[in-house]
Symmetry: C3
């Protein structure tokens, strides 16, 4: 899992002579070659070194005609070997950042993806095209980052997280294992024959800074525009945020909470476990929803504590439940 | 991650001379050899080419005695080199289909698994034995397809989907990330000491055509026979379909819906988010179940709209809830 | 994905001459060398063999001065080649156990992790440092076992299971696909500006023997100490066990059950699907909780059958519901 001569030649648009499988992990000056390295000859003044150079691969200009046999296992010919070696350095650097140990590997797009300083990417992680990851992130093994995904600085992404294409994750976020961001929103148009036609979900998911998302939680991409999780939101395990939802700053939701499509949640809300909120409504900031309860209409007043299904004032619910229970106790 | 001389020799039942690690990615005619290719000598009329052939690996008959040293890094000797090269072509073709880029790889069973034309299989995907995938599918990276799985044409399987052995997925389906098909149904027999003995779950899951399954949804394999999702069904994220369930055509269920074991669901039903249906019952076609509600007994009449727990006619539920709430408002 | 000369040299603290990329998969005696093997020279009496030995890599003492050119592609020089070859044998054995076929690989820590006899580890599985896996386990592909994880004998771990660092899984357990053990408990301290500060979750998860855990279920690590699932517990798909919870022996919970933080569940309980239990309470042994119901306070008496929200005696709930429904039927 190192850079092979064939891969380098293809990437540089050069022609390859010799073994396509020889791999290199570093660049060495031609006067100081070594096995496992690639060396380049640009300045004819250095030509005499090439005949004794021990590097595994040489990078030379197309016009170069050797006067003696070359010892390298492979020779790559390019238009401008000096310019090409800069690209090779970039590839090796990108490669190194993704490989803190010699044993592992992840999927690479050395040219189109950018990985910030201090960021570690684990093995068996897939990084698509045009992905940008900030500095000091910890991307664990077995993660999937689709094409065009961006991740800010200092974010931790645990094994098995899947982020579909073009979603954005902010800085200092924590995404726990097997969370899925950006799967298609659940949108279908009924057809006259009783079947359904899929409505394309062309938007994305935007996670702002300081958000934590629990294991196996799902946040769907919007139909158009973005499903947005604002800064400081904390979402527990196994929650569902449907397409086109917006969750306001510092809202907290316990495990198994579900929010249906196109609903707007205010800031500083608290939702108990297994609670739910229907689609296409607005919930005021500071709303508390008790566990196992469900809001079915707009909540306009801030700071209410709601319970039951449909959720009502929690004292009202509990007093009503006391009478309900008393009814049941009568025989 | 290319075919190595050792892998080829083992696969062909041949004997290997030379470097076991040299890898090839193509077949070249012996008069036209090149590094990275394998060439074969069957017809003695071509023997003179072998002494100048630049291919990395030669495939020759066991009886072949070279008159000069061979330049290949490895030589594989087989009973019939002409027949063997056909197998090599098959292996390379199977390999190529699974590898659209030189960087990646997935698990291979070139002989026992079949992948249709136009199907792409992503990196780090595991494909078991005797797997059949149709044409024009898009199998993303990091998917698991157990032994004997079949997938129809045009199906999309997103990263992290796990399909246990012998499950069947139809054509034009979409399976979102981290969905699990075919895990063991939840079946245990109580023992006299208070512990439980696992009941083997020997069936499978059958997903018919045009089905969409959401992220992190689970559909368990049946105890015997099949858990069946009929054509056109749409299942949102984080749903649970237990073992032996059958879901009728074009039924739609929102996120976090759960259906317990051995229940039969009719066609064209609609289930709201966080709804549930107990096991061992039958629900008529056209039933609507409101969100956060649960059906606890057979639904025989078609087209009802049900709400609450146990679910009853939704107007009845809401009128009752109005009185319930009024009770709570009295102090 | 075999042991390379560079990897071996680095692991043995030796110096490498020659090709860093040549790979070996076995040890051969120097009088019986072969391509793909490593041979060592310790006893000078055997020195003459080294000049004809066909092994790919030689392991020699630092003091060894060859009298003729060596044929190996790489030579590793160490202080004590006899001692070093024992380490190589250990590495190859560890490697072999993890690789039942020549095509696959998983992440390796040959020195710090232990894998018992008869255990199979699938491809693309990540095994961290200081991991201990017992005998006769079946660890499927694409699993993640973090640093310090221990697994007992005979346990089956299906594809996509993620076990965070330092969690412990007993013997004869079955963990279904995409289950997550040991993600951070959901603990935050509110700050004066309305945001939340994460409370470090420094404990772990302990799963005792004979436990089965369903697909996509999540069990969080404790804040301190352990989240404990005692022996014989069966947990279905998509369940959530929060941090610091303890679940007593042989308790069974159906799909989508959620247990909030720091709650103590007794033995032999049965929880229906989509049921829930709030945090910081204690539930007596033998409690039955009906589906879609939620316990909101301590349950002190053993053997009760509870229903509703808040859960009450199930006959009481159903009688009350009959009157509730009758209220709704009046117009």
């Amino acid at each position: 899992m190192e850079l092979t001569s064939k891969y380098l030649a293809d990437s540089l648009g050069g022609t390859l002579e010799g073994d396509p499988d020889v791999s290199v992990n570093s660049v060495a000056r031609i006067e100081n070659g070594r096995a496992g390295a690639i060396s380049f000859l640009a300045n004819p003044k250095y030509e005499h070194f090439i005949y004794t150079c021990k590097s595994s691969v040489f990078l030379v200009n197309k016009t170069f005609v050797p006067k003696e046999p070359l010892k390298a296992k492979a020779v790559i010919r390019v238009d401008d070997s000096y310019k090409a070696i800069a690209d090779v350095l970039g590839m090796i650097e990108a490669f190194r950042k993704r490989h803190k140990s010699a044993n592992g590997w992840c999927r690479l797009h050395p040219f189109s993806s950018k990985i910030g300083k201090g960021t570690h990417v684990g093995r068996m992680t897939f990084i698509g095209k045009r992905v940008t990851i900030g500095a000091n992130c910890d991307i664990y093994p077995q993660v999937y980052l689709g094409d065009g995904v961006t991740v800010g600085d200092g974010t931790i992404i645990y094994p098995g997280v899947r982020i579909y294409h073009d979603c954005k994750v902010g800085s200092n976020c924590i995404l726990h294992s097997n969370a899925v961001l950006g799967a298609d929103g659940f949108g279908f148009a009924p057809l006259s024959d009783g079947s359904y036609e899929k409505i394309p979900q062309t938007g994305n998911v935007v996670i702002e800074d300081n958000v934590e998302i629990g294991a196996n939680t799902t946040i769907d991409r919007s139909t158009m525009g973005s499903t947005v999780i604002h800064g400081g939101v904390k979402i527990d395990n196994l929650c569902q945020i449907a397409h086109n939802v917006e969750v306001g700053k510092n809202t907290v939701m316990a495990a198994m909470t579900g929010i249906a499509g196109s609903t707007h949640i205010g800031e500083h809300c608290m939702f108990g476990g297994q609670s739910g909120i229907v689609g296409h409504i607005s919930v005021a900031s500071g709303t508390t929803l008790c566990a196992a309860s469900a809001i079915t209409g707009n909540v306009k007043k801030e700071g209410e504590i709601l319970m039951g299904y449909p959720a009502i004032d929690h004292f009202t619910y509990l007093r009503a439940y006391a009478r309900y229970k008393a009814n049941g106790e009568k025989r």
